[in-house]
């Protein structure tokens, strides 16, 4: 090994070590833990069991699971619905206007999200607007507001990268605006749109704080259930089993990205 390659190997090894310690092994351990048994002292022992995984199919847990899946998929859908026009307007505006749009998008996003969510609760409380909305609706609004930038940022970058020549060619050949959108632009944006929605869906599936603050007693979702198992009930193996679905959905993102070249896998956080 020459001196030069050695100099490159050391930082590379450091990075891989970091990934091994702080990304890979914690996830593998969590997976393994879901097959361990709980012991009497609130710890766990390495007797392998399927008990935790089977317990997931208990009616109570299934209903929480479905509730969470519905919340996360609706959030992803709404983020795409509202996020796409926002991303389009941002991507096609002049640099100066773009700066203002990004600032508007990011200032609330960069304000601590607990106080932001609490502020939303205040607004919808009887002392505030008093619209008598159901907690589920308020939770949904909170989720949309919190996750919207996660969709808009990568999507705006993807739209920005579309060459204008595509649009011009289509309109020179006589295509009307709606058909250019439906037949050309949207199919070209299929990958980033799916990716952006997943970037919302997966973290939203494990969301804990927003439903907890906005929903009160009705804000009990998968995230709440998992943290209860870990921080209160001290049933770590079952908590790990509950997070299997989250692990799997995160793995799905990686799987879908696998065939892209590393340089395509880009969004951008300004």
């Amino acid at each position: 090994m020459t001196k030069r390659t050695l100099k490159q190997k050391i930082p590379q090894a450091a990075l891989y070590l970091w990934i091994a310690f702080f990304v890979a092994s914690p996830l593998v351990l969590t997976f393994v833990l879901s097959f361990f048994s709980r012991n009497a002292r609130g710890g766990f022992s390495s007797d392998l069991t399927l008990h935790n995984v089977l317990q997931l199919f208990d009616a109570t847990y299934i209903s929480i699971l479905f509730k969470s899946l519905r919340l996360a998929s609706l959030t992803a859908f709404l983020c795409a619905l509202f996020g796409f026009p926002i991303a389009y307007v941002i991507a096609t505006s002049t640099p100066k206007k773009k700066l203002y749009y990004y600032a508007l998008l990011l200032i609330p996003f960069w304000t601590n999200f607990i106080v932001r969510t609490q502020a939303l609760r205040q607004l919808f409380s009887p002392a505030g607007l008093d619209l008598a909305l159901s907690p589920t609706v308020i939770i949904q609004i909170g989720m949309l507001m919190n996750y919207l930038p996660l969709f808009v940022l990568p999507c705006a970058v993807a739209i920005e990268r579309l060459p204008a020549s595509v649009w011009e060619a289509a309109s020179d050949l006589g295509a009307r605006r709606p058909s250019i959108w439906i037949k050309i632009i949207l199919p070209m944006l299929k990958k980033p749109l799916i990716h952006g929605s997943l970037m919302v869906f997966v973290p939203a599936l494990g969301e804990f704080v927003i439903p907890d603050i906005l929903g009160g007693a009705q804000g009990f979702y998968l995230g709440g259930l998992i943290s209860e198992q870990f921080l209160k009930a001290r049933n770590w193996p079952f908590g790990a089993a509950l997070s299997l679905l989250l692990l799997l959905s995160a793995a799905l993102i990686v799987f879908l990205q696998k065939n892209n070249s590393p340089k395509d896998i880009a969004g951008e956080v300004p």
Binding site: K7, L15, L198, V209, S243, G267
Partner: protein, 252 residues
């Protein structure tokens, strides 16, 4: 490169309204500072009387600073591996880290810490924060790197710069703007985090968001409104500093 046609006016207006909506709850919460005379002094007096809030604020700042520095180093290494060597493993890891629900990262790190017998404290929280912020920081650095001309580095080498000289005198200054905005992003993400901190912090060592969360049970008091004002102000400053820095590169 020319872009798609600009959005029609009505859509631009609609988007402006949509983007303004999230400000309403925040401004509503902060309205007493404007409309109630003497509220500002009262709220901040209350805040400074709550020493545990101040203590947790400084703890959070310490953790955020430590984790952001660490995160920048890892993010730069990751950006280098992906951009220069097309490292697929690193690129997929970055992706995974961004998409992973916070709760999974929190519980899996808690599990690892307890297995290796690490005492929970500020260090474990800082490490945990770095293990998700680095992915976002790396994104900022990478998008900057994609806009740079690789010839600059070749030129430096041809002119006899050692790799170290090149790193200190060429690479770091070139990347300074994205490093600053990545740093601000890491600080924000770290200061914002509740869940991962809740899993990885030691007993009685609450971070600011944890402390706020705990206090919310007793209502949204004036001291919390003062904190909201401070955090909203910080966000304004961070966006004002960080955003032009990370957008500026596109003009070059």
């Amino acid at each position: 490169m020319r872009k798609l046609p600009q959005a029609p006016r009505f859509l631009q207006l609609l988007v402006l309204i949509l983007l303004a909506l999230p400000f309403i709850p925040i401004l509503y919460t902060l309205s007493p500072f404007v409309f109630e005379s003497g509220f500002t002094a009262f709220a901040f007096k209350k805040l400074f009387a709550k020493s545990e809030l101040i203590v947790s604020l400084f703890r959070s700042l310490k953790i955020a600073f430590l984790s952001s520095i660490l995160s920048l180093v890892i993010a730069a290494l990751a950006a280098w591996r992906v951009e220069k060597h097309n490292d697929r493993i690193v690129s997929l890891t970055l992706h995974l880290s961004m998409a992973l629900p916070e709760i999974v990262l929190g519980l899996s790190l808690l599990l690892s810490y307890s297995l290796i017998g690490m005492n929970l404290g500020n260090l474990t929280v800082a490490l945990a924060h770095a293990s998700f912020t680095y992915a976002f920081a790396s994104l900022v650095i990478r998008s900057h790197a994609q806009n740079l001309d690789p010839k600059i580095f070749e030129a430096a080498k041809d002119l006899g710069a050692t790799p170290f000289q090149s790193l200190v005198r060429i690479t770091t200054p070139l990347f300074s703007s994205s490093l600053v905005s990545a740093f601000l992003l890491c600080m924000t993400l770290s200061l914002d985090d509740y869940l991962i901190s809740a899993f990885t912090s030691g007993a009685g060592q609450d971070t600011l968001p944890m402390r706020i969360y705990g206090l919310l049970r007793y209502g949204f008091g004036p001291e919390l409104k003062a904190v909201t004002l401070l955090l909203f102000g910080t966000s304004l400053i961070f966006v004002a500093v960080g955003l032009p820095l990370s957008m500026g590169k596109k003009k070059n």
